[in-house]
Point group: C2
Chain length 294, copies 2
């Protein structure tokens, strides 16, 4: 485990002491965000699941009796590396792995260079009771001790399809470990609108699906290469209720532990009052499997 | 045409004088919102398309050189009534009809009693160059003189699927004629959160798809039945740009003409910078055609 993750476990203990039952770490939690440029040696950071980091986290989960969502750079095979999250139950068992499905590629976010996209689930795998061995395909929900959780990673957060399918699988909370920030030269002009768009689209997943949405973003300015402006991650982690109301929110600049409360009764109440799931036109959505229709 | 629509044409003229090129009226524009209760005689309000109201609007569109979106209660056949919108081009031609796909049914919104849902498009009809005669099935886009527009109606606004498909069909602006309001007994406790959720989910369609979103809501307190509290429609019509920024917004209480400007160059710029359409996982969205996956 890296020095970074060495500071993480004390924070998980602190979160548990403050009452947290499900702990979600930020995207690729145990290193700086390394995809700012294309460097072959950075594949060395990747490790298998299970592997040293997730095994250590399994021990912590069991000791504290908390669920932990552990996003790391996964080495699945030589040449097959993933942007993944291990889901560890409160008894320390590894429930499965989510592999980021939507991979971005933009200046300072060279993710298509590093990450093989997550596999689509086979039709017969769209079944949340499926075996752990098949738990790393497509969109998934895991029944943890405290709630049924879905995990999606960063760029996935812009896709209503991902939130919808994960909600239809029975998710009560959608967790989004994230690494999003400002290009320093854009911050003054566009920074506020960018954060607002990001917050809005994720609150909308809560509203459209009647689920809790928990977003865990990096924070702080990372400058890995001398002379490069680096990225300033904008924090603003938050928990939204099934009506899209933000019930806990972090700062834009400070590393912190954000604790919020999930009320599953609230979820049922919201879905009864604004019953969107009742009226979906599943006979009319064929166009969603097209990239563009012209 | 009813008295209500008799006041509408002068307003369309005024909008055109103020520079409007595409005019969208509110949902079921030419009557009070009649679905508050179930009354068989209210089917008498319905009329065919083309019919008296849309023919009158075709004349106005041609005279003023503006596109008009005309939402009315459509009588398609004896016993087949729809919540529809006619799309009329600036030369007065009737381009087609959108029939509301997602039909709500909740206290004071008895829409499943009145409205047959819109038909799903056949696969071979997902083609925006198809003949006018087939233009009343499923989600659609119409090439008007001034922009390629999609029309969705009210409850459709809660469904990311509808916004996505209409955007993939090439919509530059998604219009949402709407009739949403407060139950008077809920307004104090929930009113603000309801408007915020409604605004948020529609702004998110703009963001997720990189399109303009124009929402045209009813306004004012309608009390059709003595002793019934009626509904207070909350106005707040708005135009959001492809980044979700609200660039024009109406009040919650006043009837008004809201004019905003669409910049198609802005749409291309936003989609280049946050290229969500590039990275959709169309191989992995099979779950979207299920109501729930358990």
């Amino acid at each position: 485990m890296t020095k970074t993750s060495g500071t993480t476990i004390p924070r998980i203990r602190e979160a548990a002491q403050r009452g947290a039952q499900i702990v979600c770490l930020k995207e690729l939690f145990n290193a700086q965000y390394f995809a700012k440029s294309q460097r072959h040696e950075r594949f060395d950071i990747a490790e298998p699941i299970p592997g040293p980091t997730t095994i250590a986290m399994q021990q912590v989960a069991k000791e504290l009796g908390v669920v932990i969502i552990v996003p790391i750079f996964e080495r699945q095979a030589r040449g097959v590396y993933r942007n993944s999250a291990a889901i560890i139950d409160a008894d320390g068992s590894l429930l499965g792995v989510y592999r980021k499905m939507h991979i971005p590629d933009d200046p300072l976010f060279n993710e298509k260079f590093y990450f093989t996209p997550g596999d689509a689930a086979e039709d017969d795998e769209i079944d949340r009771s499926s075996a752990v061995a098949r738990q790393a395909s497509g969109f998934r929900v895991w029944r943890t001790r405290f709630a049924d959780v879905g995990v999606l990673i960063c760029w996935d957060q812009w896709y209503p399809e991902a939130a919808r399918i994960t909600s239809l699988l029975g998710a009560e909370v959608l967790f989004y470990p994230t690494a999003i920030g400002w290009h320093p030269k854009e911050k003054a002009e566009f920074g506020r609108a960018q954060v607002d768009a990001w917050r809005t689209v994720q609150r909308s997943h809560a509203i459209a699906n009647g689920v809790y949405v928990a977003v865990v973003n990096r924070v702080g300015h990372e400058k890995p290469i001398p002379g490069q402006p680096g990225l300033e991650f904008w924090g603003t982690s938050f928990l939204a209720d099934p009506f899209g109301i933000v019930i806990a929110e972090g700062s834009t600049g400070q590393e912190e532990i954000l604790v919020g409360e999930v009320d599953l009764g609230r979820m049922e109440e919201v879905r009864r009052n604004w019953p969107f799931l009742r009226d979906r036109r599943i006979d009319a959505y064929a166009g969603l499997d097209r990239r563009f229709i012209d």
